[in-house]
Symmetry: C2
Subunit: 182 residues, 2 copies
DNA sequence: ACCGACATGTAAACGGTTACATGATTTT
DNA sequence: AAAATCATGTAACCGTTTACATGTCGGT
């Protein structure tokens, strides 16, 4: 997974490991995280496999190692892009927690759900800030799909907040579902 | 994570490892998966830690090992339930993929997105079937929150399908966001 | 002089996936 | 008689997290 993401990040530009970390944070940080402890070994693996080449270009006394994608790397990236996607993969541990909330006393449960809702509201604010930032940029049509994932994050977080409000008040669950006829 | 989920599953009833696997699949399979290769070692760790006790109760010639939660286990489960939740944890690898879809030719992209949408529609059908099944059950108020996560899955999958349709046609992304004034 | 951001890495511990191994019981 | 499901586990492999280690550069 991480390897494919790295290939995607360097697919049109050479970057350093540090750059790639930043790109991941700012780009898909909404739904994916990578630490240096996984990133650098992954870069090494990709280099050993012949998917990347490296060159040094120190800036001042600062060591900098750039990664460049090879044709083999491009091929593997493309193969990943068009490989079948299992939509059930991925985890959502906070939901697993709420699954057990019937076990909690009403007071504590209320408090926990409220906290969860607030966390989502704060998160939504961050995503909206990001959106505003990107909206000021030009030639947005060049990264429509990159932006689309940010909008997905906003949509889903909005829905999550609505869901939170709903289940805090223990309203009928079936009211949550949209009419299929629409 | 898995350890906490196991504790949750046995918190009101003794179960075998096999049972627990099924409970996880049917209960939170929407957003969490566990294999025997992780489950049985986790059960062993929990037993060693004193969170679980075991007893054998063979049925016929079939070996059956039941796990029972201890007070220490109950305490740890409760601590987890009320521990602060990081809503940014968890991964969504299919979204990471779509992030790179600007790199794809329009034809292949269209095809991939359509496939993704169909996968989500199939998945939604499964979730709706589950919902119908649970709706026929009695005393639903006893597991309102357990059910709430299923409804969350349905809501989010519906939204995902809408989002898919939207970005397939490259409609303006800002149209995706609900009015904040509402 | 110090702090925060830049920059690259390593090692231990941990946990998860996959595949394998074994055998009983129920269903077709 | 065969296939599916019940039932418990192990082992190799792999990747991630966390913490640590080292050093540069720009701003205050």
């Amino acid at each position: 997974m991480l390897e494919s993401i790295i290939l995607g990040m360097v697919s049109d530009n050479d970057f350093t490991g540090y750059d790639i970390k930043k790109l991941i944070e700012n780009g898909i940080g909404v739904f994916y995280k990578a630490s240096y402890g996984s990133l650098y070994p992954a870069l090494k693996r990709l280099t050993d496999k012949g998917c990347l080449t490296t060159y040094e270009k120190p800036q001042g006394g600062r060591k900098k190692i750039f990664y460049h994608i090879t044709e083999e790397g491009q091929k593997q990236f493309f193969d990943w892009l068009v490989s079948p996607t299992d939509i059930t993969e991925g985890t959502n541990t906070h939901l697993a927690k709420i699954y057990f909330f019937d076990n909690l006393s009403p007071e504590i449960r209320e408090q926990q759900l409220l906290e969860y809702e607030i966390n989502n509201r704060n998160y939504l604010r961050k995503l909206n800030d990001l959106e505003n930032k990107y909206n000021k940029m030009e030639n947005k049509e060049c990264f429509y799909y990159k932006l689309s994932t940010l909008y997905y994050g906003i949509c889903i977080t909005q829905k999550t907040i609505q869901w939170c409000q709903h289940i805090r008040m223990q309203k009928p669950l079936s009211d949550l579902i949209q009419d299929k006829k629409s």
